[in-house]
Structures are given as structure tokens and as C-alpha cells.
């Protein structure tokens, strides 16, 4: 007899769920609302003056755990916008095949040049389609950007953030020499 009662109870629960709104999001036709910090694909951006923001400092290439970013610096040349001499990028490629979306490259970018996108990247039919060349990265600039940029993330992680006065207990910070920058491994 207990079986019948329990069965009836389970059936009531399932019937109650019939009248709840389905939670499915019909993906290609309707888009889920994605929060501000959502991160998917990558883009390279221009700074406020309209110049390429990337200064080819190699920070993203060094920190990438999957080692998928390749930066080729072009050396110093005069900026067409401001006229100052600065470093430029010759090529930057990003292989999304092995990206683990850790956001470390965005975090270390000193000029907020490399950012992630909020918009879903389109699926591709080939592995080459996931390979982001510099042209594609700059073309992605037009898509919706994620909240995170190097400056914002660094600001959020600032150890003095929200504290009333600076505290002098920073002796644990190992500033040290960056071994990888020196080529040691």
C-alpha cells in the first residue's frame, strides 16, 4: 500500500512541475542574458586616442598556462595618432583550441589591450576556425566586451582596496626578480 501512496506523491510532484515554466533557453533563436563579467572569446582593442593599445610587452604570452598566445613585437615606431615613439605589435595569435578561459592574460595586460568578449563566439566547423589571428582579434573589438580589463581586475584585487588607511604589513609580498623574464627556467 505504501508503494501506491509514494507513487501518488511522486506523481503529484511531477505534475506540479508540468505547470512550471520551462527553463530551457532555445539557444540559436534566443540568447541567454549574460552577466557583465561573462567571458568567452578574445579581442584586441584600440585605446581612447584610436591607436592600437597593445605594446607587445609579452606579459600575456608568458602567463598563459596553455601557452597559446604568440606575440611578435614590431619594435618601436612613431605613433600615427600621438606622434610619440612606442612599441607596436607585429602579430599576435591566439589559439582557442586549447584556451582554458582563465582570464590571466587579460589581468596582466598593462594597457588593457587584450580583453575578453561577452558575446558568444560562433561555433566553427574546423579547428582552424578557432585560431584567432590578429585581424580577427581586432575585428572582434566591435562585439560586446566583458567587464574585465587589466586595470579593472588589478584594481579589484588591490590589497589596499576598501581599507581606511594603508597598512604596512606588506612584507610578505615577494616582488623579486621575474625569473622567466630573465630567461631562466
Amino acid at each position: 500500500m505504501g508503494y501506491f501512496i509514494d507513487t501518488a506523491r511522486a506523481m503529484i510532484v511531477t505534475m506540479r512541475n508540468v505547470f512550471r515554466r520551462p527553463t530551457t533557453v532555445q539557444y540559436p533563436t534566443e540568447d541567454r542574458v549574460r552577466p557583465e563579467r561573462y567571458r568567452t572569446s578574445f579581442a584586441l582593442v584600440h585605446d581612447e586616442e584610436g591607436d592600437e593599445a597593445c605594446i607587445a610587452c609579452l606579459a600575456c604570452e608568458r602567463i598563459c598556462p596553455s601557452r597559446i598566445i604568440t606575440v611578435k613585437p614590431a619594435g618601436k615606431r612613431e605613433s600615427p595618432v600621438t606622434g610619440k615613439k612606442r612599441n607596436y605589435l607585429e602579430d599576435l595569435t591566439l589559439d582557442m583550441n586549447a584556451c582554458i578561459f582563465c582570464e590571466l592574460c587579460v589581468q596582466v595586460c598593462p594597457t588593457d589591450a587584450l580583453i575578453m568578449l561577452r558575446e558568444l563566439s560562433k561555433p566553427t566547423l574546423s579547428r582552424e576556425g578557432l585560431f584567432l589571428s590578429m585581424e580577427r582579434l581586432y575585428a572582434n573589438e566591435a562585439l560586446a566586451h566583458s567587464w574585465g580589463t587589466g586595470t579593472r581586475l588589478m584594481e579589484m584585487q588591490d590589497p589596499k582596496r576598501g581599507l581606511p588607511a594603508p597598512e604596512p604589513n606588506q612584507e610578505v609580498t615577494p616582488p623579486g626578480v621575474d625569473p622567466i623574464a630573465e630567461g631562466a627556467s
Binding site: M11, T14, N17, T24
Partner: protein, 325 residues
């Protein structure tokens, strides 16, 4: 019209309708299950995805016809059509209306149960011929379950037979139309007999909570593990047909068949069948399954003695009612 032509014509019509309803029921079940689970179910093919079943059938027909190298080729091919044929044959004696039935056999209930019981054989054949351990385990479970539950099924079906004092299905229905539906009269035994009949039908049709022979999570897909394409489709079809016919039989022998006010008899029969059919779906998407030994315990320890008692009780009821009048 000779009985033979009558049977052929109505058999063809009923068979076609049943297969169509079974096919549509797959669509309905998918939609219903989806709503239970907060999903939408098929939406793309046709309005509300109603043509999904056509798409599925086309897909299954296009699939490569795989027969495993080590399988027994003849038996492997034989099993899926056999399940559908045996299942569909039982539909011959179900009265949908006073005249809407293929063969009004005077041993209707016996025929129904005998042919329905045959379905165990193709399932065992399928499991054996696949030459796969999961299929074999599934077939072993199916046979054990099928044989065990056949007995309370037959005994609970005997209750209406005893009450109507006829094995002819149309007689059983007309007696109910004249008196009361057997599920509610005599109140106790009829309802319990219906419950037993319903449970055993679920077990015979391998529906949750008795889908132990398939048991995806344990036996991959049980007897159907090695089947692909339309052969698999036939096995699935047989399962749905079995469920549908079991609902129709239950509606006929316990719920008065075509008996009902206002509307023509056929409507009532179809309605009752579909309500029972819907109940089966509902139960399926609400419960987890038994373990095979618990299933056996349920059958031999509870259902069998209870159904024996019910047959006796209904016989006594008929006896004393006859003495009163």
C-alpha cells in the same frame, strides 16, 4: 458480411489506427516528459514538433543495418518483427465499440493473454541472438519477469471473466454496460484486480518502474543493446503498442469499454484507453525502477496470492448473487 471479411477489414483499420496512435504517443510522451522536466521537448519539426516521429522514423530507416559479426543472423533478424506481430495480434479481440472489433472470439480473454504471453519469446530470442552479455542479462531478466507477471495478470483478468461469466470480451463489456463497471462493482475486489492487472501490464510491457530488462543505467540498453536502425525502432514500437493495447484491454474489462453517457461508445472507449495510457506515461516519468529480485518478491509474495484471493472472492460474489435472485 462474412466474419472473415469483417475481421480483415476491421483488423486492418484497428491495426493501422493503433500503430499511428502508438507513433503519436511517442511524440506526446516526449512533450509530456519534457514539460515534467522543465523542458520544451521537440519543437522544430512541424507545429509543436508533431512531425518529430516522422523524422525519427526516417532517421531510423536511413541508419546502417548493423548485425554484429558474432550474432546469430537469422534469429537476430527474426526477433524485432515478431515482437510487433505478437503484440498487434492481441488487438484483434479488443472491442472498441459494439461492432468495431476484428474478431469477437468466444475465448477472447484467453486468446489475448496467450498471444500476449508469446512476446517473451522474441525478447529472449533478441537477447540470445545478439551475443552480447548485456543483452543476455537483459533477456534473462525479461523472461523471468515476463513469466512471473503472466500469472497474476491472468488471474486478475479472471475476475471480470468470472463476474461476467463469459470469456468473450464483448460480453464482458455489455454486462458492465447493463450493470456496473467491474472496477467499482463489487467495490473492493474489482479495483484491486484492476490495480494488479495494471501493474502486471506495466511489467509485461517493461515500463518503469519495471523496465528492468532495459535498465539503461545498468545494462546499457538491455536486449536492444546491439540493435540499430529500424530493428531497434520495431522493438520500441512493440513496447508502445504493448502499453497501448494493455490500456485498451484494461479499459474494456474493468472500465466498461464503450459504456458511457451522451457520446457514442467508440469515443468513450478511446477516452478511457488514452487516460490509462497517459497514467502509464505519468508513472514512468515519476518513479525509479525496482531491482529484479524485489520485482520477483513483489510478484510472488504479494500479487500472486492477492489475485488468487480475488478470483475466489469474485466467484463467491457471483455464487451468492445467483442464490439471491
Amino acid at each position: 458480411m462474412t466474419p472473415m471479411i469483417h475481421g480483415l477489414v476491421w483488423g486492418l483499420i484497428i491495426g493501422t489506427v493503433l500503430v499511428t496512435v502508438a507513433a503519436l504517443s511517442i511524440w506526446f510522451e516526449r512533450k509530456f516528459a519534457a514539460r515534467i522536466q522543465s523542458r520544451y521537448g521537440p519543437t522544430l519539426v512541424g507545429p509543436a514538433g508533431i512531425l518529430q516521429i516522422v523524422a525519427d522514423a526516417l532517421k531510423m530507416m536511413q541508419k546502417e543495418d548493423i548485425i554484429p559479426e558474432k550474432a546469430d543472423p537469422i534469429l537476430f533478424r527474426l526477433a524485432p518483427p515478431c515482437t510487433v506481430i505478437f503484440t498487434l495480434t492481441t488487438a484483434a479481440v479488443i472491442p472498441f465499440d459494439e461492432n468495431v472489433l476484428a474478431a469477437d472470439l468466444d475465448i477472447g480473454v484467453l486468446f489475448l493473454l496467450a498471444v500476449g504471453g508469446l512476446v517473451v519469446f522474441p525478447v529472449w530470442i533478441a537477447g540470445w541472438a545478439s551475443n552480447n552479455k548485456y543483452a543476455l542479462l537483459g533477456a534473462m531478466r525479461a523472461v523471468a519477469q515476463g513469466i512471473a507477471y503472466e500469472i497474476p495478470l491472468v488471474l486478475s483478468a479472471m475476475v471480470p471473466v468470472v463476474l461476467a461469466q463469459s470469456m468473450r470480451l464483448s460480453d464482458i463489456v455489455s454486462v458492465q454496460a447493463q450493470t456496473h463497471w467491474f472496477a467499482f462493482w463489487p467495490l473492493g475486489p474489482g479495483l484491486i484486480a484492476f490495480a494488479i492487472f495494471f501493474i502486471c501490464s506495466l511489467a509485461e510491457a517493461n515500463r518503469i518502474p519495471f523496465d528492468i530488462p532495459e535498465a539503461e543505467s545498468e545494462l546499457v540498453a538491455g536486449v536492444t543493446t546491439e540493435y540499430a536502425g529500424m530493428r531497434f525502432g520495431l522493438l520500441q514500437m512493440a513496447e508502445y503498442l504493448h502499453t497501448l493495447i494493455a490500456s485498451a484491454v484494461a479499459a474494456a474489462i474493468f472500465f466498461g469499454g464503450w459504456d458511457g453517457p451522451f457520446a457514442p461508445g467508440l469515443h468513450w472507449m478511446v477516452l478511457k484507453t488514452l487516460v490509462l495510457f497517459f497514467m502509464i506515461f505519468w508513472i514512468r516519468w515519476s518513479l525509479v525502477r525496482f531491482r529484479s529480485d524485489q520485482l520477483m518478491a513483489l510478484c510472488w509474495k504479494y500479487l500472486l496470492p492477492l489475485s488468487l484471493l480475488l478470483v475466489m472472492a469474485s466467484a463467491l460474489f457471483v455464487h451468492y448473487r445467483a442464490m439471491e435472485t
